[in-house]
């Protein structure tokens, strides 16, 4: 009898909610498989971002995702939202246009370190200065992945890349320090293995009024790790073992040095008026006068 019962269970179709991917309503499933390489961390960060969108409970119609160019920049192409894959470095001014023209939209910029901090660096500091109410997610994989592993503004000093075959002579940005100095009002850093903290940070960042920035450290197995003779799993282990969670750390401690230990956490979460609020206030004042 027990056997018969089991057979009946096996024949009946699994409940619909079991078959469905929990993020299916937010993914353009017809565009899968994605382009990200095996071992790449972007997918994990992307999932955390979509989970965060779900967890906010905000109507999906009130979200828009904007990306620049690069591996992370493909994020906008996989999310089932009004999504924009723009020019290299220009996701932030595109997002700024959306936000100022329709402040009801929650605009998420999902892009990489090369896009946001080399070619797009000027836009980043100015959007932070303005406290533009957008959420900027930077996946920092320390390299230009899509073009084949050239040195980035985040590549560690003396690391090898396709364009620094003898080692990177330059020093990388300390991104949280840059964000805080520029005027960002929410700044956090996590790695792709801290998916729960990351998701929580994304939820906080989306709900935060003002410019929020999350740096997410992520491995690029093909174009960074391999060239620098680092095993991808060792890099991921460093994310686990050589990181220190220290909320509200001093920005000068936030440089990336896995020997010393990389500081993670929420560094700043403050309130400051946003440009759309200020404009609305100005209009109201002029209407009343």
């Amino acid at each position: 009898m027990a056997t018969a019962t089991r057979q009946i269970k096996a024949k009946s179709a699994p409940a619909e909610d079991v078959m469905k991917h929990p993020l299916e309503d937010l993914i353009r499933t017809e565009r899968i498989p994605h382009i990200w390489c095996p071992g790449c961390g972007i997918g994990t960060v992307f999932s955390a971002c979509l989970s965060a969108i779900q967890q906010t409970g905000i109507d999906y119609g009130k979200f828009s995702m904007v990306s620049g160019i690069g591996c992370s920049g493909r994020g906008a192409g996989y999310v089932r939202l009004d999504s924009f894959h723009t020019t290299h470095g220009r996701a932030i001014p595109f997002a700024t246009g959306i936000k100022m023209a329709d402040p009801s939209v929650n605009v998420i910029v999902f892009s990489g370190d090369g896009d946001l901090f080399a070619i797009g660096g000027n836009h980043f500091i100015h959007a932070a200065r303005r406290n533009m109410d957008i959420t900027v997610i930077c996946i920092n994989n320390f390299i230009y992945g899509m073009t084949g592993g050239q040195v980035a503004a985040t590549t560690p000093h003396m690391a090898k890349s396709a364009t620094t075959p003898y080692g990177n002579p330059d020093s990388p940005f300390n991104l949280p320090m840059l964000a805080i100095a520029s005027g960002a009002t929410y700044v956090a850093r996590w790695t792709m293995i801290h998916s729960r903290d990351l998701t929580n940070a994304f939820v906080e960042a989306i709900n935060h009024r003002g410019f929020s920035f999350i740096e997410v450290l992520s491995p690029c197995p093909i174009n960074y790790a391999r060239r620098n003779k680092i095993k991808t799993m060792d890099m991921v282990r460093q994310f686990q073992n050589n990181t220190i969670i220290k909320n509200h750390a001093d920005p000068s401690e936030m440089d990336i040095d896995f020997q010393k230990g990389v500081v993670l956490g929420k560094f700043i979460d403050i309130d400051r008026p946003t440009p759309d609020e200020i404009l609305a206030g100005m209009r109201a004042q002029r209407n009343n006068s």
Partner: protein
């Protein structure tokens, strides 16, 4: 507070008239970066837009300025930016994004002497080829050349209407002289101003294909938050808007993008003929140089030379057929423009070997005098 449309007679400069034309056309978002001699457009917009519920934002550079207006356009807003040569150069990559994503927007270039920093406070018409070819790849855009502050008002409205109709960036190729000269500008009643808005989608949102063309080749454009969940990319894309890296998709997309303009030339091209019917010699001109050319035609007629003027109101797409037709019956062409030969090359190309074609131009910094035009015509014909 001032109303949206400032109906009445004004004595204002071309830049200010341009801003008023934009507002009358329904522009509610202006992204700016200061640059001489276009700054007055931004200053006027900064003063006017907040009271009208619109947005003025001064961005960190011209790349950001034009990119911001594309983002804003996808919220349903009519958007504009204004610049001059150096800023126009910086905007070029994003012009391509606007073309390929079919994002309507208006870009004003109040031209000054170039190249590089050039003559910031002095006029030129030397960005005409850049307007046509400045971004990479093949594409079609629309460019309009106003000759007076009144036209800065009227043609800015036209620019918005064409941009919305065809979902292409439209350039207003003004120049320092027209931008800074003050003249009478008559602004009609709001009810008399014809404005056009982009085609809008209807029907099932889950089956919507954002790049499936409508009857004139232009797809309807949704806005963020309507539930169409569109993906918009600068990559070569199919009707769904999804990137497809293939020869066939590239061909299909490019054919339609070019066709939107090339198949609607009669609706887009605007020229003005002055004493052309019996003309032996045709002056082709646009913008401030057209003003010179009217006078030159009159003076030449007084001396018995049958000159006429073809004024290009829209410079791009170029009125090829009109020039080819004229070439069959006239002695030759003279193109009057403040550069070292740009539109004159187009005239020469269309005139072919049938009749000669000459340039009256100079390197920039001042207008061309009617005497220079007359002297050239007397010399070569």
């Amino acid at each position: 507070m001032e109303p949206k449309v400032l109906t009445g007679e004004h004595f204002i400069n071309g830049d200010t008239a341009c801003a008023e034309g934009a507002i009358a056309a329904g522009c509610t978002f202006f992204g700016a970066y200061p640059i001489t001699p276009a700054t007055e457009v931004a200053e006027r917009m900064a003063e006017r837009l907040p009271d009208l519920g619109g947005v003025f934002i001064q961005m960190e550079d011209e790349i950001a300025a034009i990119t911001s207006i594309l983002g804003a356009a996808w919220t349903g807003a009519k958007t504009m930016t204004a610049t001059s040569g150096p800023g126009f150069s910086l905007m070029m990559e994003t012009v391509g994004l606007a073309v390929v994503t079919e994002t309507p927007c208006v870009v004003v270039n109040v031209q000054r002497g170039g190249p590089s920093t050039g003559l910031p406070t002095m006029g030129a018409q030397a960005d005409m080829m850049q307007a046509r070819w400045g971004s990479h790849g093949d594409y079609e855009i629309i460019a309009i050349a106003p000759s007076s502050p009144q036209e800065m008002f009227d043609l800015t409205i036209l620019a918005f209407n064409l941009s919305e109709t065809y979902r292409v960036p439209v350039f207003i190729m003004s120049d320092e002289v027209v931008g800074h000269m003050s003249e009478k500008v008559v602004i009609p009643k709001e009810s008399k101003i014809k404005t056009v808005s982009r085609p809008r989608p209807s029907g099932r949102k889950d089956r919507f294909k954002p790049y499936k063309p409508g009857p004139n080749g232009v797809p309807p454009m949704p806005t963020i938050g309507e539930g169409y969940n569109v993906h918009v990319t600068g990559l070569t894309h199919d009707e769904q808007g999804y990137p497809v890296m293939s020869v066939d998709t590239q061909k299909e997309m490019m054919t339609r993008l070019l066709g939107k303009i090339r198949n609607n030339l009669n609706d887009i091209i605007r020229t003005e003929a002055y004493l052309l019917e019996d003309a032996d010699i045709v002056i082709v001109s646009y913008g401030v140089s057209a003003r010179t050319s009217y006078t030159a035609v009159d003076m030449l007629r007084e001396t018995g030379i049958r000159a006429g003027l073809l004024r290009l109101i829209t410079v791009w797409p170029f009125p090829e057929d009109q020039i080819r037709e004229l070439a069959k019956k006239v002695k030759g062409f003279v193109t009057v423009e403040i550069n070292m030969g740009q539109i004159s090359r187009e005239v020469e190309r269309c005139a072919g070997s049938r009749v000669p074609s000459y340039l009256v131009g100079h390197a920039g910094g001042t207008v061309i005098t009617p005497d220079a035009v007359i002297q050239k015509i007397k010399e070569v014909f």
